[in-house]
Symmetry: C2
Subunit: 144 residues, 2 copies
């Protein structure tokens, strides 16, 4: 896997020229413009958001191991966007800050998420990391 | 607010030419390439994910009113990506399917999310729609 470590400008230039050259590579329905600013509705996508609570909440090693597992998992080709997150320092009554890791995935379709669920890399992630968590909560959402 | 209703090809063409012409409009750090496929890590972003439970879960009118409120709210300029979702028909032990509406926001920075929280359009949304929900759960996540 190649990561682009150039400056932002060349990274964007690469991206734009890649999209120009490979228009069919652009996932259908991934973007919908709602204004002329770069603000996008993730329309007609399948949102899969997982929150993990660690068995050993204080263990930096276990946290690092779970994040490493998710980074490896992020290579599953059906995933279009992903974010590996930690609780922000926001704090209001309605905010749940008790989880350890947030794993957000955007799939183009529900079918892609089905493929992801049984993908060997996903099964391997579960096998390698399931001893790390005590609780998992998942929210799957489709277009309203 | 102008929505592009042309075919996909012209929509992408517009988008690409817009980005070419306005490189500074591209949110910094919004995209990071992790491979040569169009799969992107939402790196260094602030993920704000809200789940709503309705006071009247069976009311299609209340559901529609909440979605309408969120569509209006989505115009807050700090929001970079958003998704208004309903529970998917996936069903496993770990999946919470009891919520009514999912409201996913991607902000470039924690500061943008702070601005959003006190934005007049956000305060107006709360004022107009708070009678619709009985429970809200929020997860805020930052880059690991």
């Amino acid at each position: 896997m190649h990561t682009y470590n150039h400056n932002k400008k060349s990274e964007y230039a690469f991206w734009l020229s890649y999209l120009y050259d490979n228009p069919n590579s652009i996932p259908r329905n991934l973007f919908t413009f709602t204004s002329q600013t770069i603000r996008m509705e993730l329309k007609n996508n399948f949102i899969h958001h997982v929150y993990f609570w660690l068995k050993n909440p204080g263990s930096r090693e276990d946290l690092a191991a779970l994040i490493k597992g998710l980074e490896k998992l992020s290579a599953v080709p059906q995933i279009k966007f992903f974010h590996i997150g930690l609780p922000a320092d926001t704090n209001r009554d309605v905010i749940d800050t008790t989880y350890a890791v947030s794993w957000l995935n955007v799939f183009e379709t529900a079918e892609d998420q089905d493929v992801y669920q049984i993908h060997p890399m996903h099964l391997q992630f579960i096998e390698e990391c399931k001893h790390l968590w005590r609780k998992v909560v998942v929210y799957d959402s489709i277009q309203h």
